[in-house]
Symmetry: C2
Subunit: 105 residues, 2 copies
DNA sequence: CTCCGTTACTACAATTATTGTAGCGTCAAT
DNA sequence: ATTGACGCTACAATAATTGTAGTAACGGAG
């Protein structure tokens, strides 16, 4: 069961998902795994967060069946995780449009 | 300029965007605005966060040109905000599949 | 067998973010 | 004058995150 300490006490899947994805570093971790498995430290260095929180988030993502640890290769997206990532890929292109439109990034 | 106190010090649009969307309540606020404008308090009640943080997040979202305040109607998504929301809509359906697959929500 | 590097991960104090409660200032209607 | 809706702020209490250090398990080289 994914903890929902924060908002969305309704238990509706979309709320639980938005809650999970809205936790610091979660989106970023999923994003960093887009091209294949990464080691714990490698991931930690890539995003620049503390090992404590990287480990916490990885545990949450594993519990949510979005990420798994392969002893030989490192952390990687599960089938579900890759599906989710696919939904997010359009963000990449859109973010550049957004940046141009706002001068914000 | 969107602050990037947290991760993503690269300045790449996708990183800035993931950082912004990864802040607590941001995804939820965008989601709550999907059906039209909401008043400050209404929004606050809907998500159950403190007025302090709701106001902080709304300010960030306004700076990012994703949300705007219409004095007559309340807070609402801008054109860019609606584009972003459209990218997120598939999450709704997928979240139910995810919930069934994991028993997690 | 021991030393060395790599692995995932934990301990813990310091710092930062968020909450919860109360309330302010403005405006419009009564 | 009062009331109510509105966006928003102050501030102390609590929770989340960081940064640094270090643990424990494993595998290969000497």
């Amino acid at each position: 069961m994914v903890k929902r300490v924060r908002g969305s006490r309704t238990g509706r899947p979309i709320m639980v998902l938005l809650d999970l994805l809205g936790r610091r570093w979660v989106l970023r971790i999923v994003w960093e795994l887009r091209d294949g498995p990464r080691r714990f430290r490698e991931l930690q260095d890539a995003i620049g967060a503390s090992p404590t929180i990287v480990n916490t988030r990885l545990a949450e993502l594993r519990e949510a069946r979005l990420v798994e640890l392969d002893a030989a290769a490192g952390y990687r997206l599960t089938v579900l995780g890759r599906e989710l990532l696919r939904l997010f890929l359009p963000l990449h292109l859109w973010s550049e449009k957004w940046a141009r439109a706002t001068g914000v990034a």
